[in-house]
């Protein structure tokens, strides 16, 4: 054990070693990418490969270097023998990031490693800049360097395979120079304090960082939180799922349930997944904790082999580093109740045979629990500078026609999300464009009731382009990039006691805006969910969007593409099937794992059949019919009975809670429907019984007020007496629940009863009464109209 002074002095000394390496690297590098954008990091390691300290200039390198040292740890080391690698599947992240590792010897013994990583402006491959938007294997992205010795011959050989070989040589030598500076300082430190103290110091610094992280984690409440989000590849969606468990002073981040690796380039090696997690944890805990491997000891990151976040060779990875990494950070932050930022770097490449121009564009930062999110900044794993308009126009055949803040794109909240950016470029010559962007369909979410930020948009002469796009820009054509806003934090108005900091709102779609649907959807909007709506008659949906915070979709597929949970509230099984599975339906647009929640009342059999088909298409279904009529839909006090798997029920629960008061999980898929139709059959039968009771009293000249008062006070009372007796007496059938719909439900109940071999005679009689009312043309009236049939039979009218 060393004392608190030595601890701080040695921690500082280690940091100084890494900082000086970084200063040497940046100073002696040749490319603007390292010199100006500072896309480089340096670190020192103990002989056993544990990272003692790092100086990172860009978060995407945070904590991903240990994999590189691990990749060469078992080799024979000799003084002055450096190693080089960039293979994402052997210690690297993506190919442009090249790592150089130098062992440090003193007194004939290996005492440490010095390592530097830099983003090289080009590492060969078919695309200048080695950041192709459309790669599908690693070979499309450049030269893969497996761990090997870095000497002059290797420098010559490797740089010959890349563009601007002089610059590559210069940058690699700069990395060697940085490592040499680290070697020198560590040897000095060794000579000053001795080998034993240096070993102790390494251990102490690691332990110190660990203690500080544990102290922060211990302050978090124990328990498991989940979060998930999606990426927008060229086809379909990719899902990232996280279960974060805090136990005491440790944290487990489990990404089981994440989509499998895909044939695009959004895949990540585990090292990138780790660094994105560490970034988020650093934000959530204390950024002052030294960036040492000790800080990450209490954090376990698990992603199944072969999934998007732990891809197998030779999956392409270039987008994983720049885009997926952002989304990983988002789910970790989301699990801990933080509003999300733009979540993309908006990568834009424009080029011809003569010139290549690459830029990334800032956007809105998510609001913090105590501050507005800044506007127009890089939000997560990147922090690079823009290119000045004047510099751009002097160098490239481009004109910037607008560069401004996208006002109002940040989500409202007690603290507002930051606004995105508008950047519009006009081509002066023919140029190929390549866009690698995200959050064009899925809005960055708010937290604790804060509103989501606006989704981004890519427009070519006003026409929308997909999130990943390549094509030709002719002279005079304009490419307009509108970057996403950040999510807000906390409810916009402070009059509510809404203080649940753990709830991050979700992207939901609501299909069917009838009497019940429009009121239910309005509650979702009010609760801060990022809402997209669709209705068969578009005017209703347009009106809804005018009155509420919601996006309009023209088809169910379009609505589903922007959502992770899709609610349906339509009339019958045929409509549910059409909306979910028909052409242009939900299944055509939804990404894998999207959860459909059907609130219509369609009967268990139909529900199970639709569920099976959805399952085949990689989607999930929960049936969640509701009871309570329009006023309770309005108040958000419906009763909701759900059928389906427990995990799906939990996923839908926050949204269901925004719409209902009593929410019951009734068992497997279809059980919600079963409970609902039994309940409705009981309600209809009960209403009929109340009606007949009043007719008997009327015939016997009994005062109806006296009757209903006494019944209401005692054993003859019921909800139907409260709700319908007055309506029947007044013959007021203004619709709360259509008689035709009630008849459908009663029939469903009888069908299910018959299938199960259970009789329900009273419901059967009610069915006949409702049938007769239909015959009288009362199908569109409230089901209280069944009194007309009973009055006919009794030959008397109620007064």
């Amino acid at each position: 054990m060393i004392d608190p002074v030595a601890l701080q002095v040695l921690t500082g000394a280690m940091h100084a070693v890494c900082e000086e390496m970084g200063a040497v690297l940046i100073r002696s590098a040749h490319s603007a990418n390292i010199k100006e954008r500072r896309d480089a990091s340096t670190a020192m390691f103990a002989p056993d490969g544990e990272m003692v300290m790092q100086a990172e200039h860009i978060p995407v390198h945070l904590g991903s270097m240990p994999a590189a040292v691990a990749a060469v740890l078992g080799e024979q080391h000799a003084p002055g023998h450096s190693w080089i690698l960039n293979d994402p599947y052997a210690g690297g992240t993506h190919l442009p990031d090249i790592t150089v590792i130098t062992p440090v010897f003193a007194g004939g013994e290996l005492i440490a490693f010095a390592a530097s990583r830099a983003h090289h402006a080009d590492v060969g491959g078919p695309t200048p800049g080695s950041m192709p938007a459309d790669s599908s294997t690693l070979a499309d992205e450049g030269v893969v360097i497996s761990p090997r010795v870095l000497d002059e011959a290797a420098i010559a050989e490797l740089s010959a395979m890349m563009r601007q070989p002089d610059q590559r040589r210069g940058d690699l030598r700069a990395q060697l120079a940085a490592n040499r500076a680290g070697v020198r300082r560590l040897q000095e430190l060794h000579d000053r304090v001795g080998a034993a103290t240096l070993r102790t110091a390494f251990a102490e610094v690691l332990d110190y960082a660990e203690r500080r992280t544990r102290a922060c984690l211990a302050a978090l409440p124990d328990g498991t939180r989940t979060a998930h989000d999606v990426l927008e590849p060229r086809h379909g969606q990719l899902r990232i799922a996280l279960e974060a468990t805090v136990r005491g002073d440790s944290l487990r981040l489990d990404f089981s349930g994440t989509s499998a690796q895909h044939d695009g380039n959004l895949n990540c090696p585990l090292a990138v997944t780790r660094s994105a997690c560490y970034f988020a944890i650093r934000v959530l805990t204390d950024p002052e904790i030294p960036p040492s491997a000790g800080a990450y000891r209490p954090i376990e990151v698990h992603a199944p082999k072969g999934c998007l976040l732990n891809a197998r060779s030779p999956a392409a990875v270039v987008g994983g580093n720049v885009e997926t990494s952002s989304r990983i950070a988002d789910v970790v932050m989301g699990a801990f109740g933080r509003a999300l930022g733009q979540g993309t770097m908006n990568n834009l490449t424009l080029g011809s045979e003569e010139v290549v121009y690459y830029e990334t564009i800032g956007g809105g930062q998510g609001a913090c629990p105590d501050a507005d999110g800044p506007s127009g900044v890089h939000v997560a794993m990147s922090n690079t500078l823009n290119t000045p308009v004047e510099a751009l126009e002097l160098e490239f055949p481009l004109r910037v026609t607008e560069y401004s803040l996208r006002r109002g794109s940040g989500g409202e909240g007690r603290f507002r999300g930051g606004d995105g950016v508008i950047r519009e470029l006009e081509a002066l010559e023919s140029l190929r464009y390549s866009l690698m962007t995200e959050r064009r369909r899925h809005r960055p979410l708010g937290a604790a009731g804060g509103r989501p930020g606006a989704a981004g948009a890519n427009l070519l002469d006003g026409e929308p382009l997909p999130p990943k796009a390549t094509g030709e820009l002719r002279p005079g054509q304009r490419l307009r990039i509108e970057t996403p806003g950040g999510g807000g934090h906390g409810r916009p108005t402070s009059d509510s006691d809404w203080r649940n900091d753990w709830i991050v709102s979700e992207r939901v779609a609501f299909l069917g805006l009838g009497i019940m649907g429009s009121r239910m959807a309005a509650n979702l909007a009010r609760a801060g969910f990022a809402l997209t709506v669709w209705n068969r008659t578009p005017e209703k949906a347009e009106r809804f969007c005018a009155d509420h915070e919601a996006e309009l979709a023209t088809t169910p597929a379009e609505a589903a593409a922007a959502a992770e949970v899709v609610f349906t509230m339509v009339v019958d099984g045929a409509q549910v099937e059409q909306v979910l599975l028909g052409s242009g339906g939900v299944a055509d647009g939804a990404g894998p794992g999207v959860l459909c929640v059907d609130c219509s009342t369609i009967g268990p059999t139909a529900t199970r059949a639709i569920g099976a088909t959805l399952h085949e298409r990689g989607l999930r279904l929960l049936d969640a019919p509701v009871t309570g009529s329009a006023p309770r839909a309005e108040d958000g006090t419906l009763t909701i009975m759900a059928g389906g798997e427990e995990s799906d029920f939990q996923r839908a629960r926050p949204a269901l809670e925004a719409m209902g008061k009593l929410i019951v999980h009734a068992g497997p898929l279809g059980n919600g429907q079963m409970v609902k139709v039994i309940n409705n059959a009981v309600a209809a039968t009960n209403a009929a019984v109340v009606g007949q009771a009043m007719l008997v009293a009327a015939r016997a000249d009994v005062d109806l007020d006296a009757l209903t008062t006494v019944m209401g006070a005692g054993s003859g009372g019921s909800t139907m007496l409260d709700l319908k007796a007055g309506a029947m007496r007044a013959h007021d059938y203004s619709t709360l629940f259509k008689l035709a719909h009630m008849l459908k439900d009663v029939r469903l109940c009888l069908d299910e009863g018959e299938a199960a071999g259970a009789p329900f005679e009273f419901a059967a009689m009610t069915r006949e009464i409702l049938n007769a009312a239909m015959g009288r043309g009362l199908g569109e009236a409230d089901f209280a109209a069944l009194i007309e049939v009973l009055e006919g039979t009794a030959g008397i009218k109620l007064h």
Partner: protein
């Protein structure tokens, strides 16, 4: 007789130079109207020198009016006129966030809000107008500005560094429609490309100039009443200008204060025969670091203050947040930390007895015996050793350390922080610190100099006698200077010796005219790059450079900075900067006239050992030998001389220390 007055955070310093002898005086700074403190310091100095205002031939002034306003984000009501489609450029900045992990940390808010940014319906391209600004549009815009109730307006139009026509037309319209509104044009204030930096600097210039103007007019009046000549004002670039020019361009004087300190340090270094020094000015809350190379303070083409860019040449002064008032604390991992929180001047360290209870660097220095408990610090603060010991004992208990070990720990950690900052600053600038001497000044600098020198491998320390008023001294020897710069983008056939000389001559004429000195010496700086690079290197050269010379000088610098040269690559001359200068006063300081020193002894703890320090109180005269362990208690600073360090006092009264390697 020369007069220099420097306004600092706590004190305003005045120096009078009377035939090589320096007479100094201090007065409390008066932030509400700095001119009051200035006049008070001047009259104190005059009294001490037994002179009158009429004898003052030159009055040089460094102040923090613009700096403070900028730090507080305070300016006069200001409008901006910016090319349509780009009115947010200042707010957008360069899209990087100020802190990697504190996501909601913000850059300072723009001085001009969105509702006062007016779009100009015009567009210049690098090749000229794409959309011309009509006279009617100019007038309409000027009327809108006039109607907005502002005192000042900044105009930044795209590509105006090359095509200033629209900015000039706007000025004419504003002069007619809004004659009382101050106008800052970006091509005049800055003149270089990169619209964000130019616009942000122009915004600062517009918002602060009327404020600075009011102050300078007040000072001028008060000075005139007292019989003083018109003051010359220090700019960030280390040169002086007249009051009217300073009032027109507040952005040029934002680093007026530190520039005086750097100039004074360079002067003291050269006078001591040590032209290569690392300057280290440690005060109560922060320390300023700069590099003097061959007797000249390193300059930079642009810098940043309080998170705002200034695209103007300035002396390269780097500020580190560690000073005597920095508070020591135990962090959650159990380590002893120092700063960045500071007790400042109020309540100040625990030993000031003004209510501070947390242990600071000054408390540790007092407890260890480096500071005298019986002698007041500069400004008359008496130190209370008991309070210092109590504060340190509390922290020591938290850390499980003996109090003396804790006090030494505080010093050790603070020194390590400063060393780390210095090392990175020097490596970044490509300087091997071992080649340099360490020039320590400011109240606390000389206390820490030896320990920091040891860690950097520096073996010489220079401690000027005027350590506490070096900034005021720097003012009186600084040249008068005016810079004019323009981005020109010359390469290929356009980059000819004739073209360059013609532009230099034109800019030089403008600079001389602005300085009011047709014979002023001209110096040229060329910012060059290889075609395609995103950054430039500044090369000093002749005003009629041969292209071969320019290329050779650039390539030498490129090779030195980046380790290679590229003979194949085309050269691009991006920006030409011309400065017109009239040299300042020649000065040779003498150490005569100081009262004799007193010697004594005091117990202290150093590197874990109890020892006796020799105490030298007062300004030692030339030839005095000093050997560690000792402390020298100068009027405004204390120099700690550990064992192994020794030296003597030179003719100017400067203490020169050395240690064997």
């Amino acid at each position: 007789m020369l007069l220099g007055v420097d306004v600092g955070g706590t004190f305003t310093d005045a120096v009078l130079v009377v035939g090589g002898r320096v007479v100094s005086a201090k007065a409390p700074s008066t932030p509400a109207d700095q001119s009051l403190g200035v006049l008070a310091a001047i009259s104190a100095a005059l009294e001490r020198a037994g002179s009158s205002a009429a004898e003052v031939t030159a009055f040089c002034h460094g102040m923090t009016v613009a700096t403070n306003a900028l730090l507080e984000g305070r300016g006069v009501p200001t409008a901006l006129v910016i090319t349509e489609g780009f009115t947010d450029i200042v707010e957008l900045g360069r899209q990087n966030r100020p802190e990697l992990y504190r996501l909601c940390a913000t850059r300072p808010a723009p001085l001009v809000g969105a509702q006062l940014r007016f779009p100009a319906p015009e567009r210049m391209t690098p090749d000229g107008p794409l959309r011309a600004l009509t006279e009617a549009e100019c007038r309409a815009l000027a009327r809108r500005v006039a109607g907005a109730g502002v005192e000042s307006v900044g105009v930044t139009l795209l590509h105006s560094y090359r095509h200033p026509e629209h900015e000039l037309e706007l000025r004419n319209a504003l002069a007619e429609e809004a004659p009382d509104v101050h106008v800052s044009l970006s091509h005049e204030v800055v003149g270089t490309f990169r619209e964000y930096e130019r616009a942000a600097t122009t915004e600062v210039d517009a918002a602060l100039s009327p404020l600075l103007g009011r102050y300078l007019r007040r000072l001028e009046q008060r000075g005139a009443t007292a019989g003083l000549p018109e003051p010359a004002i220090m700019q960030s670039n280390g040169g002086l200008i007249d009051v009217a020019s300073a009032a027109d361009h507040a952005s040029w004087t934002v680093l007026s204060g530190p520039a005086g300190g750097a100039a004074g340090a360079a002067f003291a270094a050269v006078a001591a025969g040590a032209p290569d020094v690392l300057c280290f000015d440690m005060g109560g809350t922060s320390c300023d670091v700069c590099v003097v190379d061959g007797g000249e303070v390193r300059e930079q083409s642009a810098g940043e203050i309080a998170g705002r860019p200034l695209a103007l040449p300035m002396l390269a002064v780097h500020t580190v947040g560690a000073g005597g008032g920095s508070i020591a604390w135990r962090d959650p991992g159990g380590a002893l930390r120092v700063g960045p929180r500071s007790a400042g001047a109020d309540p100040g360290p625990a030993c000031y007895g003004r209510g501070g209870t947390e242990a600071t660097v000054t408390d540790a220095n007092l407890m260890l015996g480096y500071l005298a408990a019986d002698a007041p610090l500069a400004g008359g603060v008496a130190l209370d050793r008991e309070r210092a010991e109590r504060a340190i004992a509390t922290l020591a208990a938290e850390l499980g350390l003996a109090p003396l070990d804790c006090a030494e720990g505080i010093i050790e950690v603070a020194n390590a922080e400063m060393t780390r900052a210095l090392r990175v600053v020097t490596v970044q600038r490509g300087v091997d610190p071992r080649r340099f001497a360490l020039l320590a000044f400011g109240g606390a600098g000389p206390l820490h100099a030896a320990a920091i020198a040891d860690q950097l491998g520096i073996t010489r320390i220079v401690c000027p006698r005027a350590s506490g008023v070096l900034a005021a001294l720097g003012l009186v020897i600084s040249p008068r200077r005016r810079d004019v710069q323009r981005s020109v983008f010359l390469s290929g056939p356009a980059l000819s010796a004739a073209a360059v000389s013609a532009i230099v001559a034109e800019l030089g004429e403008r600079a001389r005219r602005a300085l009011g000195e047709p014979e002023a010496a001209l110096g040229a700086t060329y910012e060059l790059r290889y075609r395609g690079q995103a950054f430039e290197l500044a090369i000093r050269g002749s005003t009629t450079p041969a292209l071969g010379e320019l290329r050779e000088a650039f390539e030498r610098e490129h090779d030195d900075r980046y380790g290679y040269r590229d003979a194949e690559q085309k050269l691009e001359l991006v920006t030409i900067r011309v400065s017109a200068t009239v040299p300042g006063a020649e000065l040779e300081l003498t150490a005569a006239g100081a009262p004799p020193i007193q010697r004594g002894r005091r117990a202290a703890t150093l590197a874990g050992a109890e020892l006796e320090l020799e105490v030298v109180r007062g300004a030692p005269s030339p030839g005095t030998e000093i050997a560690g362990p000792a402390v020298v208690e100068l009027a405004e600073a204390t120099l700690l001389v550990p064992p192994l360090w020794s030296g003597s006092v030179d003719e100017a009264g400067t203490i020169m220390l050395e240690r064997p390697r």
